[in-house]
Symmetry: C2
Subunit: 571 residues, 2 copies
């Protein structure tokens, strides 16, 4: 399928995800091309996303991350024998000569530089961990988790019993994945985050607070708003000093995000985007049409906001690789962009997000409506249902769905993927509410969770539901006379009381008959476990001429999370 | 929000799913309407889909199917006190007088008929089990599973030890759900199906065969192509006689599908569709604009084929109810249709389907491409991955995605919901391949299962992958000289051999060096566990001028299923 009569020369720089995928796909489509893949590291085609699971022990052997499903290691020999791809490890591309269509590649072992001719060049150089400019951060004993060697070193230290206390710098995705890795080994973990909340680029403050409290409850220490001043090291013990305290640690892990490797591209005069990553067109071509780029070194379009973003992910890198493999062998494939989906596991929780956060959406100029839906992941009468908290973000006027955040022990993976598909198709909340999703008691609800969540947001937009969030309720409680109307059944209210003077319990099932017990001269915030009953209670009160009636968004589960360390509490 | 100055009279006929939902939604939007709900049965608002789980024991108490999440039974009193809805049980609508806008309702207890005035009438009469015209089918000891009483009777008989052997007539969704119910009680189960395969309206023969074999392996007996001639009953033991044998049973369950309850609507002169169910417009109005209908008594549009179908499901009924509740209180909501999604659990398997089957699609005139993808539901290096078989159906020319079937112990629920969303948005395989789905090792693959499956089908459409299905291979083996080239590693081939003379093992990893061992004068079918290696092997052979090369679609897992009781077997 090569376009040329002569065999084309394909050179791929970078051997982790996008590179091997592009090379393999090119081979499938063109049996005759000369395909060379060069990689700076000692290993290629490993599952970088599996590193935290090697540290934590779920993956027993590091080489499993390089194995195929049929238990063969994807090494140079494998690429040679199966795919007829020439792999050169520990070889670094030091220069691209676009005029001559050559790259200069230097052997890290010998220092010898050789030239390699290309017809099509693929840049898949990946990214490098960002190391914040902190005094003492480059010392021995401070780790990153980026390549298999890092994971091996960290686990070795734990297994030798040399790491009773770990400090993780950064409460992003990798930082929180590592919480579980250390937790599995009974290593005490402390997470320090510069921002005021965990996962600041993925979660809104309400959901971040919910997540933080759920993780802290398991015995993990998380401190947000921590500006790290320096890392001291003494007798193998580190001390991470922040603006207001210091944290001792046997091991410090820096997980402060990644930066794209663009040096080679920049020196070659290729266009770099405003995000700092390589700019490519829909066909994954750089500003030089004979040079393609993909994976963690390129930027991509956020399909929800229309903005260019840097969102390095293994799933995206693989898609890039396949598309590049097509296009360098005469195909014509395009990569439109991403919708910002991410998912990870921390302890018993799944944390997932797709699209824009509420904060993102406001920053993009959207007028925003939201809803918080606490729910079980399948019908309550079938055993084994697990909790999920779903936040939905939509455009107020149009009802266009903009994003979601889902956290809980329940099946968040299904819901986030459905909502990712909804975003990719620019669905409205109404469209989501009419999705024909599979229903059977072991898996879902007659009204599936995401449909419930979408309908909650629609009720808000339609003016049917008047909510107050936990933060607003707390503020109001301090400022004015407010009635917290607990509409749960009496036995629930007694076994899980709300510790607040302003609370009064009238179950929804008797509310219509007890309206005269409720004062008309103060605002009323109805609350219940999940929000369903308090919504109904609001409607009853409104119909009976109570003027200032709201219900607690997200129900008492959010409330409990919010007021955990505060006076007004719900146990 | 009522459009009238006076309070409107809303009458709802039918109290299971759509009816109570419509009434409740109407109340939320209109606090002043007079809302009456009449129901023929003794109970209302129960989860009919939960009945098999009561029979099987997962649901301990039948009343749980009528409880809210907060443990209150949804009875007349509940609807009165919480929703101010007047519920009349054991009351049957016997006539609609459209000119006067009244219905005649008869008390089943007293026989007294009264007239009820309506401004807006909602028909939600549901369906009735279809009882095939078989001699002896109406005897005592032959059951249906339709209302809570049925489930109570069946379970009582099992718990009394009076049902050691059950015969289920019909291998549809409810029939197969009941397999698990009986299995849980160690009741021997035999399923008899008239069609040549299980789930004939939901699965293609290849996937039906796969499912059947997986269930049969657990000790359940399933006989397809069974025309039942009569049911004999003697001393409490039944004997189900088919054209070629007879089956003794302590209990016979008829699960041969449902028919919509349309008598009342037909007598009132409302339009009935060609499917036999009530015809409604997008707003869920019948041919009389003051009469709405929803749930199991109406037909709906299949959004993939554009045809009207009868597809009664609790999830659809609830959506109908909400939309009707909006429209009878001045709203303007539409129900576009369904994409034919279904899911259920049988033993350790999830069975899911969305869109058209291959057979459906061909019958609708589509030129069809398919793929079979056996896979784990998350990356192989993370523990606990479970098997799934995914069949994809697409239009050959456009690549438009038309449907999928997913079976296995793995997480089929997530995949079917994502693909249902894809269908609702008329996505192509290319669109699916570019979905930004959540990736993390515990949940998925860098290339998610549905993306892999879509790409397999694309490879077929693009002429890159030449497959033969298990059926074709079996035919060919009988007719001509064929080489089955097993490209698994030697240890795999030895521990899980293919019992077939025509087989030769050359692992993919050494294939390029052993081409001279392969004869050029016969067709070659490559095979491996999952299809990935045999696909690569095909490409290598093609590039080396082997002319007639294919690989086994669906891998050896399908092969094993297909040849279970046949000569050519794979253990």
């Amino acid at each position: 399928m090569s376009m040329d009569a002569e065999n084309s020369n394909i050179v791929v720089i970078g051997g982790v995800a996008c590179g091997p995928k592009a090379a393999s796909r090119a081979r499938r489509r063109d049996p005759h091309a000369n395909i060379t893949l060069i990689e700076r590291g000692k290993e290629l085609s490993y599952a970088g996303c599996g590193l935290p699971y090697y540290v934590g022990g779920a993956v027993s052997d590091i080489s499993n991350l390089r194995k195929t499903t049929f238990d063969v290691i994807r090494d140079e020999q494998y690429f040679r024998s199966v795919k007829n791809i020439d792999v050169q490890l520990q070889t670094e591309a030091v220069n691209i000569n676009r005029a001559n269509r050559t790259i200069a590649a230097r052997s890290i072992a010998t220092g010898i530089i050789k030239e390699i001719l290309y017809d099509q060049l693929v840049l898949a150089m990946g990214s490098t961990p960002f190391i914040p400019p902190i005094e003492g951060i480059s010392q021995k004993g401070v780790y990153c988790l980026h390549v298999p060697e890092d994971a091996v070193q960290i686990r070795e230290k734990i297994e030798k019993g040399e790491a009773d206390r770990a400090v993780i710098i950064g409460a992003g995705l990798i930082g929180l994945e590592l919480v579980e890795s250390f937790f599995n080994h009974a290593v005490d973990v402390t997470v320090l985050e510069l921002a005021d909340a965990v996962l600041p680029s993925c979660l809104d403050p309400d959901m971040a607070e919910f997540l933080k409290n759920e993780v802290v409850r398991e015995g993990v220490e998380i401190y947000t708003g921590q500006r790290i001043i320096r890392i001291d090291m003494e007798d193998g013990t580190a001390r991470v000093v922040t603006q207001d305290r210091s944290f001792p640690a046997d091991m410090v892990i820096v997980a402060a995000g990644n930066r794209p490797n663009v040096g080679l591209a920049r020196e070659a005069g290729l266009r770099i985007g405003e995000t700092g990553a390589i700019s490519v067109n829909l066909r994954m071509q750089t500003s030089d049409p004979n040079i393609y780029a993909g994976g963690d070194c390129v930027e991509c379009c956020d399909l929800v906001s229309g903005r260019m973003i840097y969102a390095p992910l293994g799933s995206t890198a693989n898609k890039h690789g396949r598309i590049i493999g097509d296009n360098i062998t005469g195909g014509c494939e395009e990569f439109g962009g991403v919708v910002g989906t991410m998912i990870f596991k921390v302890l018993n929780l799944t944390v997932a997000k797709t699209g824009l956060t509420e904060q993102d959406a406001r920053a993009c100029g959207f007028r925003v409506a939201t809803s918080l839906t606490p729910c079980l992941d399948h019908v309550h009468f079938y055993p084994g249902g697990k909790f999920l908290m779903i936040k939905i973000i939509a455009e107020q006027e149009s009802g266009r769905f903009l994003g979601a955040q889902i956290i809980g022990p329940g099946d968040a993976a299904k819901r986030v993927d459905v909502l990712a598909a909804a975003l990719q198709n620019q669905m409205t909340l109404r469209d989501i509410a009419n999705l024909d999703l599979g229903y059977s008691p072991p898996y879902s609800h007659a009204m599936e969770c995401v449909i419930q969540a979408a309908n909650h947001a629609r009720n808000r937009i339609d003016g049917l539901a008047h909510v107050m969030n936990a933060d607003q309720v707390q503020q109001k409680l301090l400022q004015e006379d407010l009635l917290l109307l607990d509409v749960r059944e009496q036995k629930e209210a007694e076994s899980n009381p709300i510790f607040c003077e302003a609370v009064k319990n009238i179950p929804l099932t008797s509310l219509r008959y007890r309206l005269d017990e409720i004062p008309k001269n103060k605002p009323i915030v109805c609350c219940c476990a999940q929000g369903t009953r308090s919504y109904e209670a609001c409607l009853i009160l409104q119909a009976n001429h109570f003027d200032s009636v709201y219900y607690l968004d997200g129900g008492l589960r959010i409330w409990r999370s919010f007021f955990r360390d505060k006076k007004e509490c719900y146990s």
